[in-house]
Amino acid sequence: MAEVVERAATTQAAEMWVKCPECATLAFRKEVERNLNVCLKCGYHFPLTVEQRLAIVADRGTWRQIDSELKASDPLGFVDSKPYWKRLEEARAQTGRNDAIVTGTCEIEHEPIALGVMDFRFMGGSMGVVVGEKVARLFAHARRNRLPVVLFCASGGARMQEGILSLMQMAKTCTAVARYRDLRLPYVAVLCYPTTGGVAASFAMLGDLNLAEPGALIGFAGRRVIEQTTGERLPPRFQRAEFLLEHGMVDAIVPRRKLRSTLANVLRLLKNSPRHDS
């Protein structure tokens, strides 16, 4: 919310420039955008909005959203520094959507797929009842229509304000993945900045293939929690995509400009199973 106000207040001139948080290079926003929001100098991948992600991944004009009307209520009547329902209203106003994921169908290089894209700007991409339901419905939709599933994950984890119900969404989404997998259809998860906590420990890590964006933060426990528990200072690249690749936890780190062709390729390779079972 504060960010929106701040951004509205900045002058047109500042909007024209963007500073890379990795190498501090100042560049024309337009130029960075043309480069798929990747720093021209060091290759840092700026986080994408859902719309930017769709524009990069989906064939033009093929995206159809499903289940966009689903909203969370406030099951626990949760209040911390402000009531949960108020946080939800603010997040909806800020992002223009009802919760932290959009789901639907599209084509990638003419390959029809079911696609989910998480929105980190909506309460840190946290998974509550709506995200759980939409992910489960996406897999069900893909099952009925025999489509591959591609999921872009960007989430801090479970939505604490929905308490135990948010935890149960981990079970719910994994149950949906299990059912989908029985049809021998491919599921590719793309882990973006960040994929942690309850989302990492459920559907995000269950892809037949797990891809990661360069520099993406991926892990179970938060850095601060680990530092507090172990009393160790962690190296800066700890839990980054490169760290996961090194430890055998992701299949490939795919730069943004190669993402579309990589996805299309692996989906084609996994598509035509010679087996004929229901």
């Binding site: 099951p75 911390d80 135990i164 942690t196 269950l206 426990a221």
Partner: protein, 307 residues
């Protein structure tokens, strides 16, 4: 689903005496944070205490065949009231030495991968699965991250979801986050009356949402998280509350074990009527329904089961 309703009814009937005592002394009901303290009490019976009391011929397995053995998770096979079963549980430890040895019941990936071996064994040999949830959460450590803590937990969730044998999860202490849930995707979820089950510890929640984990904020977070057995029954997350002996399970291990075993047996008998495919469907439907009644498509500020 129909099975569950009937159980709740039976259960209410069985404890109608203590219910009225409770409502008479509504004010003296323990606060949420007191419940958490009770659930964490190291004197409370743990997985091995229950195994010792109602599992015969127990054979404990060790190791995940990939990295090592995790003493924070106990897994094995044994006989429950005559029939062979598969067992997995967190073990926190009672004495300081045991607690350190068992990492306070906080599993590493190898613990979850050991559990996965038992899930697969249960499936291959048609053994009903009984699990015991009792952990603050999975170990947050460098090694755990390097060895894929998230993947290990996620894989367990999928494996449990796939089982075509009856499964019963018992929350016996503090059920904390994905680290507990990795043992919890079962046909029936039982919870002892003084246990708690939550997405995050009250301390963790307070540190993040209240930005400080002072005793006051932690108590507030515990209240807000709705983590007691009664809250979870209302939310449809558990199937039945298992009564504990007067004063809590730690006062009477035999009594607590007897009540828990009775509840497990009652559910196992009912689940045994379902076919393998129906068992999986039953579990799928149960978890697909989690929180679904709180979804809306119009603007509603609040649909809560609490006032």
């Amino acid at each position: 689903m129909a099975l569950d309703k009937k159980n709740n009814k039976n259960h209410k009937h069985a404890r109608s005496g203590s219910e009225s005592a409770d409502s008479a002394a509504q004010i003296s009901r323990p606060s949420a944070i007191d419940r958490v303290k009770l659930a964490r009490d190291p004197r409370r019976p743990q997985t091995l205490d229950y195994i010792e009391r109602f599992i015969d011929d127990f054979f404990e397995i060790h190791g995940d065949r990939r990295f090592g053995d995790d003493p924070a998770i106990v897994a094995g096979i044994g006989r429950f009231r005559g029939r062979p079963v598969a067992l997995v549980g967190h073990q926190r430890g009672h004495s300081t030495a045991e607690r350190i040895k068992r990492n306070f019941g906080r599993p590493n990936p190898e613990g979850y991968r050991k559990a996965a071996r038992i899930y697969e064994l249960a499936e291959r040999f048609s053994l009903p699965l009984i699990t015991f949830l009792d952990t603050q959460g999975a170990e947050p450590g460098v090694g755990a991250e390097e060895r894929g803590q998230a993947e290990a937990i996620a894989r367990n969730l999928e494996l449990m979801a796939r089982l075509t044998v009856p499964s019963i999860a018992c929350v016996i202490g503090e059920g904390g986050s994905g680290g507990a849930l990795a043992l919890g995707v079962a046909n029936v979820v039982l919870m002892q009356e003084n246990a708690c089950y939550s997405v995050i510890t009250p301390e963790g929640c307070a540190a993040i949402l209240w930005r400080e984990a002072t005793p006051d904020k932690v108590a507030e977070a515990a209240e807000a998280l709705k983590l007691s057995a009664h809250d979870l029954l209302k939310l449809g997350v558990i199937d039945e509350i298992v009564e504990e002996p007067a004063g809590g399970a730690h006062r009477d291990y035999e009594g607590a074990a007897y009540k828990l075993a009775d509840a497990i047996e009652r559910h196992l008998v009912k689940l045994a009527l379902l076919s393998p495919a129906a068992l999986r469907r039953h579990r799928e439907r149960k978890f697909a329904a989690m929180g679904k009644k709180f979804l809306v498509t119009k603007n509603v500020a609040k649909v809560s089961v609490f006032n």
